[in-house]
Symmetry: C2
Subunit: 210 residues, 2 copies
């Protein structure tokens, strides 16, 4: 459902019948809207963000946002779609020393969330839980769905769904305390230190007998 | 701050100068208001719940809620104050076999959250993050503050703040996926099974070398 909501959009700008004085349709508007949407949804959540506010901050006409993304929900899902999608995750975790799988998994996500284009996507998703069904669904996909389950299935130690869910617990907990609540000492801890602390837990959930 | 906000309230009903037709001030109104507030805040979060809605659902006059709790924020904090407070936690974890400390900690919280008066408090807190500062602060207290830090300090394995935060990560992650998002297989897993799965992680964060 997540995928269906964010694909198949027309990426060409609409024919600008009337000019409102704002920038309408330069070739990078699509990216500018997504960037602005990530920032505002991340700071204020889905309910606290308006399409008008995004249009103003991105300096585009509201009609262009509707043209690209159809609705606020469509824009939100397009804006947050990479929050938990680490490119090449399965290979990264499963190839190499099996004893280091947990560390590689932890480092992959923590490094992913340091990306300034990704971090607000994560915050936006967490802050928008219960705002609308697809926001919840996107988070559920992360823990139960394609992201983690592919890894635990590939490793082949059984109970793949339980392992995926337990890894989701660990990583959502980190996201929540480090990125959203900004609890110390987690918030200002280096990625390396945090990887050291949580790698044994990830290793256990990935490979040890449950 | 959390404590200050919820103590020192007058628990006697106000002098009912005008009758509105609703029940004003029977001796159990205080408890009925708290019970109703927990349910509604848990379902809808802080922003989605009104004082009027709570008064109607609890069948009391709004003035009585203001008299007891002064404000919506005061009512919220009073309603959720036991979300993470497990009576006798430090003794429960530190006394007995040191190898079983993690299991006892996990079981204590998971059993606490099965209580039908406690579960909505946890959901209310999680769903109200960023709604107002004290809601965040109450959650932060849980992980950095008195609850977990007392346990990790009492066990005396060093890095008490880091250990407390890592335990907070694990438990908030469980709360989030099991109680709020209701992700399977976590949501319908028995407390005993879940304790088995997460006890080694809690044990590691409590006692192993970091």
């Amino acid at each position: 459902m997540f995928e269906e909501m964010v694909t198949g959009r027309n990426t060409r700008p609409p024919n600008p019948k009337k000019r409102s004085g704002r920038r309408v349709g330069p070739s990078n508007s699509h990216g500018a809207i997504l960037h602005t949407a990530r920032t505002l949804f991340g700071e204020r959540g889905f309910d606290g963000t308006t399409m008008r506010g995004i249009a103003q901050a991105a300096d585009v006409d509201s009609a262009l946002i509707h043209h690209f993304f159809l609705s606020k929900e469509g824009l939100f899902l397009a804006a947050v779609q990479n929050a938990f999608v680490v490119p090449g995750l399965v290979e990264m975790v499963t190839e190499g020393d099996p004893e280091g799988a947990g560390e590689r998994l932890a480092r992959a996500f923590l490094a992913h969330w340091e990306d300034p284009e990704v971090r607000p996507q994560v915050e936006a998703l967490i802050r928008s839980v219960r705002a609308f069904e697809e926001a919840d669904s996107a988070l559920c996909d992360f823990v139960g769905g394609e992201v983690m389950l592919d890894v635990t299935t590939a490793l082949g130690h059984g109970k793949a769904e339980v392992r995926a869910a337990l890894l989701g617990v660990q990583l959502i907990g980190i996201v929540y305390l480090r990125l959203v609540l900004k609890v110390e000492p987690l918030a200002s801890m280096s990625v390396d230190d945090l990887v050291c602390y949580v790698a044994p837990t990830c290793q256990g959930y990935l490979t040890e007998r449950l």
